[in-house]
Symmetry: C2
Subunit: 356 residues, 2 copies
């Protein structure tokens, strides 16, 4: 695996080129007007020694690492890779690298990573999290490095946060269902504590209310934000014979689970039950029927986060002015939603829904 002795240092290059380390540093950095001869000598020496400046030494001196910390709730949740990729690209394009930490849904672990990243002196920190305790918010607000939070609802703490307009997004989903003619609608919520859960259910309820659907006609169950939870929740919904003809879901994984349960019960999507998800993860268009969902600008959020961080880095003066950025969400109509079954349509939920 490894080979070679020690890598060449700037001193080695200086000696070989017959100049001082200061000169090597200058010509390699392209500052000053070096004599063409010296420049050539330096470049040649550097080349021959395969010299690569030590980022460590440079960072110690310049007090900047050109590294951004990125902590995500869980890299295995398909919501995050797109965001991570976009952040990585955006960062690289302005000369930064990304130090990643995947917290595996453990907030305590996330805070540990935060400490480690601060120790390694990242220039800035991006936290893409689905849940954040108050204690954590405070830690973030007093962080020694610029922080931006992505994908969590702001709670009034002085930290820049970038998030989707969850309320409007959920309204979009509900409005779509209502427009198709659905009246008995269910909503499978996300895990308690996930900050997007409240605004989404609120938006969903609001749209229904405004359409004149009594709150009592909206049945809410709780999922876990994963496929399994969606499956269980939808199965319970069907077993309860609520006669719902459409289900809004906290996220796409929940929706995919719900679709499984519905099919399992012998019903068809969207003929018997319509499903709408949220997030627009890649798998949403892989399943059959393809999932109608409300898309979040995941890549856009990643890019924006990097942009905000680097802005703060370049203007350390007017920092302390945290902002809240809300990205619009967009309804993506695919195949999992349609009009409710007509009176002569489906014979009802397994037992009763005939009245549907």
């Amino acid at each position: 695996m490894g080979e070679r002795g020690v890598p060449a240092t700037i001193r080695d290059v200086a000696e070989r080129a017959g100049v001082s380390t200061a000169t090597v540093s200058r010509v390699l950095a392209g500052v000053g007007n070096p004599n063409p001869g010296t420049a050539a000598a330096v470049h040649s020496a550097a080349q021959q020694l395969a010299y690569r400046p030590s980022g460590i030494a440079r960072s110690l001196r310049t007090r900047r690492t050109r590294t951004l910390g990125l902590i995500v709730t869980d890299i295995q949740n398909p919501f995050f890779p797109e965001l991570v990729q976009a952040a990585d690209m955006a960062a690289r394009s302005v000369g930064y690298s990304i130090l990643l930490g995947s917290a595996a849904y453990d907030e305590h672990r996330a805070m540990h990573y935060l400490d480690l990243m601060v120790d390694s002196r990242v220039d800035g920190l991006i936290i893409a999290s689905s849940q954040l305790s108050h204690e954590t918010w405070n830690r973030l607000a007093t962080s020694p490095v610029p922080v931006v939070v992505v994908n969590a609802e702001p709670v009034g703490v002085a930290v820049t946060v970038i998030t989707s307009d969850n309320v409007s997004g959920a309204r979009l989903a509900a409005a779509h269902l209502i427009e198709l003619g659905h009246r008995r609608i269910a909503y499978i919520r996300g895990p308690e504590g996930f900050t997007a859960d409240s605004p989404r259910i609120d938006g969903f309820r609001a749209a229904c209310r405004e359409a004149g659907i009594p709150a009592s006609d909206i049945v809410e169950v709780r999922g876990d934000g994963q496929v399994e939870g969606g499956e269980r929740a939808a199965a319970a919904l069907i077993a309860a014979e609520t006669g719902v003809t459409a289900i809004g879901c906290y996220n796409d994984m929940t929706a995919i689970g719900a679709m499984r349960a519905i099919r399992q019960a012998g019903l068809r999507v969207p003929l018997d039950v319509s499903i709408v998800g949220c997030d627009d993860i890649a798998a949403a268009s892989w399943v059959v029927p393809a999932l109608t969902t409300v898309a979040q600008g995941k890549a856009e959020m990643g890019r924006t986060a990097v942009e905000r961080i680097t802005a703060a880095l370049n203007h350390p003066d007017r920092q302390g002015s945290p902002e809240i950025v809300r990205m619009p969400m967009l309804l993506v109509r695919r195949e999992s939603t349609g009009p409710p079954p007509g009176p002569t349509g489906r014979a009802g939920s397994p037992a009763t829904a005939a009245a549907g």
Copy 2:
């Protein structure tokens, strides 16, 4: 966002505790037998100043960063997150952090990241890649830091590589299909250049041959390793009226695409056509029918990669002994495979399928 002036240094702590920096370093590192009184003073001072040692300065001095570079082909490919997560956990558990780079399928970009990581003096490097040019292999073999390659077929270059036993895995898939009674089988290959493509088609062919199926009965088409490519390939297969009753796929995304195309053509999985994938990504069990596939030990590979790297780090002596680790693959039977349609089953291609 950011706040606070400069973070406290070891000198600040030393002054406040009334000792030298050497002592601070020692008590905080827990080496030596500090006088209980001094130890208390140091800890207290460190506490009050919220002192966090600079990883930069420490790394410069100790010549170790306790950071591992991890470059993946594309973090958006669902194959990688599980591997990344496992590697991250394994690394953290032995005191290392992960510097991530997602190459977005661009090998040139991957090499650029490699340079950046070497510059930032990572202690070791893990490359999880689906394709690797000869030039890249050579770069890796002469890397100044220990390298392990994951998920690519070894090509005789002196680098440790950890990969699945692709040949046997593909045999498993083929054998499963054959055992179910299929005789006219297709295989949708991965992109040219992806190193797992060859061994997989080889293993698949070998199992067929051994079962007495003439090579001419195996139809091969090329996908792109993504859902779209699988969809196109399967659509072409159906349009060609080859009468295949089962399709083996390069990976799960290809298989998921193939299932879409089959359903699109009015056929059913697995009643009319059986599908078997490869990888066992999360989405394999989300689709309906759930995908039968050959699982790779993704997490295991991630852990093993970290284990091998850290082993090399701890025993710099007997390095230069690259090894090849082949992880077994496992058939996961789900719902997308079944016996071929009987003589009275479907009458063949889409045009006539009505009989089914």
